[in-house]
Symmetry: C2
Subunit: 422 residues, 2 copies
């Protein structure tokens, strides 16, 4: 279940294995999530980073793709419950990922949208562009300031990438577009609770990323906790100080919550789950007591060597998918118990800030600036699933590089008569 990095890698690894594979997903496409922020900031179109699952798996005759919303799992009868039917299984792999969470403040969701789906990304894109439009129309200087203030909550890779792209939009992309406002006067705040941005990176790279963001006009507020979010303001707490920023655009790049199927497994078979709702899996990625149920990807809490769970990014999910395929192959051949536990090979981390600005932590090698940026481009292009999309993305990046134009700058999906309410 799940057509993300984990589910797709598993299905592809089972290509020539004599099993029947059913891939269930709510969407009809595999989403290349690492580039989702580029849709949210108007650099790429949704279709550039989404590959139709049926197309990716069309030549794989043992695999069926179902567009489905899984409501529950009946582990006793070995069935996955959909809204209109049931599907039986011998082996079940749950890879349903995560969504964002607001640390118990669900009411913040209304004002601070997150970024997990294509719909999230196009909605975020509309919000950002509408804010500049609203500022251009606004006469009151204080209100205009609020429209031109952008607060990004969370200084992980997504927050950093969003802040960098917003900096470029304000300073370069929109430079000549308005008559009454100067887009480069926009105030972009990146709020992070811990003492530096990109906490999983080495401190020196966090510093470099912060310097690059500042060059793009982003104000980085580390050690700062958000205590309240309203429709037109964010209140933050930093040491002894409390500060309230008036803003009309708040973007959420902080908390992650596991898919509710983790809780469903906890309820039905007592699978252990952590605070974030992830299933704590065995060394072979199964649920304790249920060797026929695997959990991989963002939904799994797999303890790495250092004792910390693996991060919810693409690499662990892909490797877990391949590992599970090997377990299944090995079980088919009868040699069940011999397989080694899953071992994650960390290939490092990459985050991009802007044109020629990125940080790379490739284990022994730490890079920043142009070299990291070029590696980032190369790795992302190589990993985009469809060949056509590789070309289209490369072209659009080339164009963006030369002109700063973001051509996918569309405000869509809103009711035009509600423009003023936003």
């Amino acid at each position: 279940m799940g057509g993300g990095f984990g589910g797709l890698s598993l299905a592809q690894s089972l290509k020539n294995v004599p099993v029947d594979v059913t891939l269930l997903d709510r969407a009809n496409y595999h989403l290349f999530q690492p580039l989702l922020y580029q849709v949210a900031t108007g650099s790429l179109s949704p279709a550039n980073i989404a590959a139709p699952l049926r197309q990716v798996l069309r030549r794989q005759q043992n695999t069926t793709v179902f567009l489905a919303d899984v409501t529950d799992i009946d582990t006793t009868r070995k069935r996955v419950i959909l809204s209109d039917r049931e599907i039986s299984y011998d082996t079940l792999v749950v890879a349903t990922g995560s969504s964002h969470q607001y640390f118990g403040h669900d009411e913040w969701g209304k004002y601070a949208p997150g970024l997990k789906t294509i719909e999230d990304a196009t909605a975020m894109r509309s919000r950002i562009l509408l804010a500049f439009e609203a500022a251009e129309r606004e006469k009151d200087p204080e209100e205009r300031r609020a429209w031109l203030t952008f607060v990004i909550v969370g200084g992980g890779p997504t927050g950093v990438e969003l802040a960098g792209a917003l900096g470029e939009i304000a300073n370069d992309t929109l430079r000549h577009d308005f008559r009454d406002i100067d887009p480069s006067s926009a105030r972009i705040l990146l709020v992070e609770g811990s003492d530096r941005i990109l906490p999983p990176y080495p401190p020196e790279l966090s510093q470099k990323a912060q310097a690059m963001l500042q060059r793009l006009g982003v104000t980085v507020c580390t050690g700062t906790m958000v205590t309240s979010i309203e429709s037109d303001a964010v209140t933050v707490h930093r040491g002894q100080h409390t500060e309230k920023f008036r803003t009309r655009t708040i973007l959420w790049a902080a908390g992650v919550a596991a898919s509710p199927l983790g809780q469903a497994l906890a309820k039905s078979i007592g699978a252990p789950v952590d605070k974030a709702g992830r299933v704590v899996v065995q060394p072979d990625l199964t649920v304790p007591g249920h060797p026929e149920i695997f959990v991989i990807g963002d939904l799994a809490n797999f303890s790495h060597q250092n004792g910390k769970p693996l991060p919810g990014v693409a690499q662990p999910a892909i490797q877990e998918g391949r590992y599970v395929a090997n377990v299944i192959k090995s079980r088919l051949s009868g040699a069940t118990e011999a397989l080694k536990p899953f071992h994650y090979v960390d290939r490092g981390n990459l985050a991009v800030i802007g044109r020629g600005a990125a940080v790379a932590d490739l284990l022994k090698i730490r890079l920043s600036g142009w070299p990291a940026w070029l590696i980032w481009i190369f790795i992302h292009l190589v990993n985009i699933v469809e060949f056509q999309d590789k070309i289209l993305v490369l072209l659009q990046w080339g164009w963006l590089y030369l002109s700063y134009d973001r051509s996918a700058r569309l405000i869509t999906g809103r009711d035009p008569s509600k423009l003023d309410l936003l």
Copy 2:
């Protein structure tokens, strides 16, 4: 008012004229409507055919772009009324276009969506793709047949282009994608009230277009009127016969209704409007008695030499925009009365059915098949506004040509838990 072909052509023609231009539109982009059906059928992404208005007009310092929903026009005080403010004018050009209409059956809109906006196109794309997904899940043969039956109402260019693209999707694009259904067994009906499709074209080209559609598996029903549309059926009337088709996907490419601002002008200054709600304009495109108010594009009813109003397509709108710019220039120079009435230069018509299949009526020259198709591609590429989009569209067409892949095949914007209700 209006950032379509008419409004944009006018604004661009006023580039070096000493006037202040304010362009109002509900959307922040100029939409290249002739290719909208390609978004609806998954060949192109919305951003490929939408150019941000601010970007197109960024170097034009006399022009201001406003994202606005016009609610009314106060012709006495010479003001355009927006929801939150008023804008005064000396000269007003109304180019707010048209939307679809259901010949008095507004209840059909729920089941038979039309195609005028990007939101319409992505919704239509989702419906088409979901129908194949639902057919794959459906066990009952009659229900499955209904999911695999597509009815397109209206045999004008949009209907013909949609039907041709659907034929290619069913026969080629999805060929290997499903396990339980054969997409090429889909039944595609094109329903047209008059006695041939593409009524404005010469009869020989209508015949050729019909033959090309039939080769793609489309059933063309001419002389056929739709008398009823329900959630799962269309009833048609043909001569003495009434027939009911069970179908879950009905696409509307028939009636066109002028923008409500036509009626607003009729009420406030007694502008004459025709049955379709278009403003019947003077030979200089002004409203009778109001030389300061022009109406152009789909909203205008301008009688051509043959007495018929100009068709609601791009060419008349563009030429009307240029003409109005000339009138304004000429008035500035004082020589008001000398200008000749608007004269439309018909450059011909083009419609595409599929790969290598198109019809072209270029006045003296009538073409079909490959030559018409190549001309169609050339003309559309030349006319796409942004250079980057020309390249991206060309690439995607090249890819489509080679592989039949439609990579923008995304089902988006729906609530996944409502999958089964569609």
